[in-house]
Amino acid sequence: MQFVIVAGTPSSGKTSVMVHTIRHLQTSGQQVAVCKIDCLQTNDDVTYRRLGIPVAVGLSDYVCPDHFYVANLEEIEQWAGVQKADVLVLETAGLCHRCAPAVYDCLSICVIDNLIGINTPRKVGPMLSSADVVVITKGDIVSQAEREVFRYQVESVNPQARIMEMNGLTGQGAVSLKNTILNYPQFEGITGKRLKNPMPAAICSYCAGETVIGKSFQMGVVKKVEFESVDQC
């Protein structure tokens, strides 16, 4: 089975890009299953179901979405196995910029769009820098110059990645992405594989449902802002 992890900034075109790509995978005779991980709510399952494929949804709700994601990878893989999937697409949303879902030996795709601003690739962090493939969308509505500058910024954050410019509306570029997925080496199971980046620690009292502000309510791993000392004039 091919295990494909799709992440990216909000509304960057993850679902649009994958819908087009899955259509091409289906044309090539591949059975595809999709799982969508989100925080509170998603409509993406409806979109994916229209392709006539098995779709699962996992909502992290009161749990940190990043940790929820990792803790469910085995189960998601098993589910896809039951669906007899050749390709499992796992779309993640709601992850913070500190997080990256990339797992060694899985194909991880980061979808990022031209509209988020030229300096944003630097802020996206490990989600972008540890991706195997970076898909850049929405090139149809920005200038040639911005596309060139944006791509350059992406390349400087992740020089190893294969960068693909795609159009989520028309599906331009989806066949190349399909080929990339099919040519990626298969593996025998997610159990024992490693995250490329450790998740941020989240074990304080607020993780456990605390809502009151104040030092005496804080327990566990608590990190504080370091303020620079300001010279008096």
């Binding site: 149809d140 509505i141 920005v142 200038s143 110059a145 791509r151 294969r162 331009q172």
Partner: protein, 276 residues
């Protein structure tokens, strides 16, 4: 240096092979893409833009200098081959013109960026007629100013051997001057257009129908003659518009060119002469 682009035909919207099974565009040529709305003009440009290898809706294949483009690696090498200007494109970055152009010049490793930037600005203002400065913010530009800047940037900074232009006649800029500045130096230029003047400025035009390439027309002597008439009429209309906008009353003899305008025209022609 790029010598030619070949497009090998695929299927039209009803699934039949398109009539034109091979279209070649040589270096230095301008090709117009014509046809009714929805006939597949923009798709043709998109196929060329991504150097299609039978993977798009049309199944067309595009050859650069007769070579096949097989792998993603090949495509990466071609990344600076083409530049595109379309009516749908906007600047979305919150930055001044000079900051942004400087960044772009850096990305493209342009030698002597200060000089080139001045030229970009001069051309921008020449094309749009509503002047901008280096300090103008990109997000404040009007549609016309944005398109003018895009054209100037594509011509001087991107400076790609293949230029794809999608319906710039509605862009609020002097489109004839824009075409002038984007062509030359052995560039291949594709112009999607509904505008007879732009169509006739091309060496040939491909006629789109039902999503397929349906015919090729070569611009004839007769058409070239009609073109020069059209250009004259257009200049006259522009002159009238300018006079009226300036609050002047029209004189009976509106063929007369005023001195200032003559001067400007000369400078422009000189500029084109030196840059091509």
């Amino acid at each position: 240096m790029l010598k030619k682009i070949t497009i090998l035909g695929g299927l039209n919207k009803i699934g039949l092979p398109e009539k034109i099974q091979k279209l070649e565009i040589q270096a230095g040529e301008i090709l117009a893409v014509v046809g009714p709305t929805g006939s597949g003009k923009t798709q043709l440009i998109a196929d060329i833009g991504q150097v299609a290898e039978a993977e798009t809706l049309t199944g067309r294949r595009v050859r650069i200098d007769d070579g096949e483009v097989n792998s993603n690696e090949d495509k990466q090498k071609l990344r600076y081959l083409m530049a595109q200007v379309s009516q749908n494109m906007n600047f979305v970055i919150d930055m001044t013109i000079s900051e942004f152009l400087m960044m772009h010049a850096q990305v493209r490793a342009v030698p002597n960026p200060e000089m080139v930037l001045k030229e970009v600005l001069a051309i921008t203002n020449h094309l749009s007629g509503e002047p901008v400065t280096f300090e103008t913010n990109l997000t404040q530009l009007s549609g016309g100013q944005s398109r003018a800047l895009m054209v100037a940037d594509v011509a001087l900074l991107s400076n790609a051997p293949v230029v794809l232009i999608d319906e710039i006649e509605n862009a609020g800029i002097d489109r004839l001057k824009a075409l002038d500045i984007l062509t030359g130096q052995g560039k291949i230029v594709l112009v999607v257009s509904h505008d007879p003047t732009l169509m006739l400025m091309a060496d040939k035009r491909v006629v789109m129908k039902n999503g397929g390439m349906d015919g090729i027309c070569y611009t004839t002597e007769k058409e070239r003659h009609i073109l020069s008439e059209l250009v004259k009429t257009e200049k006259r209309v522009n002159r009238l518009r300018e006079q009226l906008r300036k609050g002047k009353s029209l004189r009976s003899d509106y063929h007369e060119i005023d001195h200032h305008e003559e001067e400007e025209l000369k400078l422009w022609q000189e500029y084109l002469y030196t840059c091509h």
